[in-house]
Symmetry: C2
Subunit: 305 residues, 2 copies
């Protein structure tokens, strides 16, 4: 299989490339693997269990990190619904190729308290410097600036009143809605499974991203109905439960670490992705899109006893 080199995408977390460079070689630009090899424990962070969701499916656990700074009201409601076991037994009902997987109360049959039914539109949120912003140096066509806040890919507009929003990258989770922008109640959620549908940016509320288990969602059979909805009830994929990680006994949690985005190491990581230096590449392009930076995630759970 062409010594695995054909189409190299570094399996960044697993890659254990030894980096034993002499003084001269140290001046060379680093590859992604070399950057990660040099990471210290402080370059990684553990997502807050209170802001992490476990979506339990027959095929496994999908783990979502919520972004309370970037959609505070919606994240609050989703956490409340998860705490109340609202989502348990609801289905994944829509899988549209190169677009989204959607789940929840698609039949609009489960009641929730009226105050939760209409939330303020949070498709963009006010931005203050104290929220932080790690800028990607490259230009973006959809947003004045892009980068990361709390590890989530974002667009930023500093023009007063400054605003920020999660960009619709692969794995980003949003809140389905009807035509009125305030009609997304958190009872239906979706995740991006294809080319970033950035035309949705600033049009719909995004609440977080999948840290683990994307392959479970992205490999589901595509729905053949309009918009990728499953046409037969038996095609739907039942959700066993959605829980806040903090509500799950510690022994049953998956302990993930995510590469911090607010470190000098992350700057090197981005540079290594902007200009690919692995031997396979002939032409480093000196550019990257915010949605082409996959923030490394690793499982630091000990062996289960």
């Amino acid at each position: 299989m062409k010594n695995h080199a054909s189409l190299v995408l570094l399996c960044v977390v697993a890659a254990g490339v030894a980096f034993a460079a002499g003084p001269d070689e140290k001046k060379k630009p680093l590859t992604t693997a070399e950057v990660l090899e040099s990471a210290q424990p402080s370059d990684w962070r553990r997502p807050t269990p209170g802001q992490t969701l476990y979506v339990e499916l027959a095929a496994g656990r999908v783990i979502i990190e919520l972004a309370p700074q970037l959609a505070p009201r919606h994240v609050g409601v989703i956490r409340q619904l998860a705490a109340e076991k609202y989502y348990d037994g609801l289905p994944i009902a829509r899988v549209q190729d190169n677009y989204v997987v959607q789940w929840g109360d698609v039949d609009e049959q489960r009641k929730i308290e009226p105050p939760l039914r209409t939330l303020p539109d949070e498709s963009v949120v006010p931005w203050h410097q104290r929220m932080g912003f790690i800028k990607l140096p490259d230009k973006d066509g959809y947003a004045p600036e892009t980068g990361w806040i709390d590890g989530f890919p974002v667009g930023l507009n500093r023009k007063s009143p400054a605003s920020a929003w999660i960009t619709h990258c692969y794995g980003v989770v949003g809140v389905g809605r009807n035509d009125p922008p305030d009609s997304g109640s958190g009872t239906e959620l979706y995740v991006v499974i294809g080319q970033a549908p950035r035309h949705l940016d600033r049009n719909i509320v995004t609440v977080g991203r999948v840290l683990r288990g994307m392959e479970i969602l992205s490999s589901l059979p595509r729905g053949t109905g309009a918009l990728g909805f499953y046409e037969k009830p038996e095609q739907r994929v039942p959700i066993r439960s959605i829980r806040i990680a903090a509500d799950v006994p510690e022994a049953e949690r998956t302990n993930l670490e995510v590469l911090r985005t607010d470190t000098p190491l992350f700057t090197k990581f981005v540079e290594a992705r902007r200009n690919r230096r692995e031997g396979w590449f002939t032409t480093p392009l000196g550019h990257i899109d915010v949605c082409n930076i996959n923030i490394p995630v690793r499982d630091v759970s000990g062996p289960k006893t």
Copy 2:
């Protein structure tokens, strides 16, 4: 299910929205559905059967349109290999989430004639005006210009010597290679199944795109080995055959039509995607990436008798 409006992606080909506008309404910007509704037969083209591949899998037929102008030598070899039934029985062996599906002679066991083993690098090709180029007005970070040639998404650099290349959008097909840029012989092919890996542009040879059947490839189980290779032989997906459509009896062909990209209608189509005017949208963004324009394809096969 929120009257299907949550997360509208127009099912563009199927959409049959009646467009009966009065004189005033005609001045309104059109939606995608309205543009397509006004398409004439001449706005569509039939891919050349001699440049179309049928990849036959147990799950169905995947149809690839080859791009002879954009990788003439590689397309020639792939057509020759298909004509010789070289690919028959080889497997899909790699499915890496958010990246590629890869198939062919991954074990490097099938001999091909030595002259075919080393082809010139065609990761970019010389561009002349007679090749055509339909420009997308929006800026791109990876290429000086983007647009379409023969209906394929491309990057273009007019700086002498002018060059063009297919951009790595969802559904684009390329030729796996080892580290030497001329080591891709066409015996292994891949297709993009996630966020456009544009860092591969100008680094590897692209030869066409999937017109139909992407959902068969994109929903395959992900490989758990390095780079998404399947670890067990039984996980591999056998390819029944790959044939040039022209070599298939007419009654067994799938008759597709693709929206032309060199028409005034296509310009309107792009504008309708750059600024979404459907009622669901609150904020048209005035920008689109070349990889976010999905060129409509329709099946015009009559009913099978």
